[in-house]
Chain length 119, copies 2
DNA sequence: TAAGTGTACTAACATACATAGTACAGTAAA
DNA sequence: TTTACTGTACTATGTATGTTAGTACACTTA
């Protein structure tokens, strides 16, 4: 099983699929130019609808994580530098927002990150 | 203007209200046992519906940030230790999730946090 | 009493999400 | 060519959530 859906998660299914696939691809679990599961087979495997999977794949293509060849299928992007860099920037942004709130609450950053990072 | 809504934000209005008020209260901008704006006046000020504000206040009461006296109004909680600790734990959890993803992407934690925290 | 408070409803509407079904064009292999 | 895949584009339907509107009632205070 490539992916696992969480129905207790409030996020929509298509987002769980695209986020999950992006993690696997950027982490190197799926190699560049390797074929993704087809829209229909992925839908079968996840017991969901082909339209939902297609929406997830469209988002991945928009992010540059995969590319599409009509009639052949979807494939892992050959050059992941751009989407990897973009994701890294997103992570930095999100962490910065959380640390900013911690500041406003008077929580020391080093104390908040205790045990998470080497000083 | 106590709060400012962002209609470009995808989060629902009631959540923006409760999150915004919680920030102000936990940051000490609103003092304990001080009265909150009434449901109706807050709705007027934000050009929204009293029901939406009430939903936000109900969530704040559930979190222990405010307390309600029927017929009198909503007041900032007199003891904010519990909700402040809870929020701190939530922030830690969210940061931990983001750092975990960074690990899976092969991004060094210290590099990711560059400029955000003293080493 | 009058005005303000929280609270609890119902109804209506818009939007997002998901499913089902159909159809069509492109690709690859038998 | 035929067959079986692929992606893509629709329509229709159902459901859940969010928001607004309106009404009503109990409580508190001046």
């Amino acid at each position: 099983m490539l992916l696992q859906l969480d129905y207790k998660d409030s996020r929509p299914i298509y987002e769980q699929i695209s986020d999950g696939c992006r993690k696997l691809i950027l982490a190197g679990v799926l190699a560049p130019d390797e074929p993704m599961p087809s829209v229909r087979s992925m839908a079968m495997e996840l017991s969901t609808n082909p339209n939902t999977v297609q929406k997830a794949y469209a988002e991945l293509e928009r992010q540059g994580v995969i590319y599409t060849v009509k009639g052949r299928g979807n494939f892992v992007s050959g050059d992941l530098k751009a989407p990897l860099g973009a994701r890294k920037a997103e992570l930095r942004e999100k962490i910065a927002m959380l640390l900013k709130e911690a500041d406003e609450l008077g929580i020391d950053r080093n104390e908040l990150l205790e045990g998470m990072v080497k000083k």
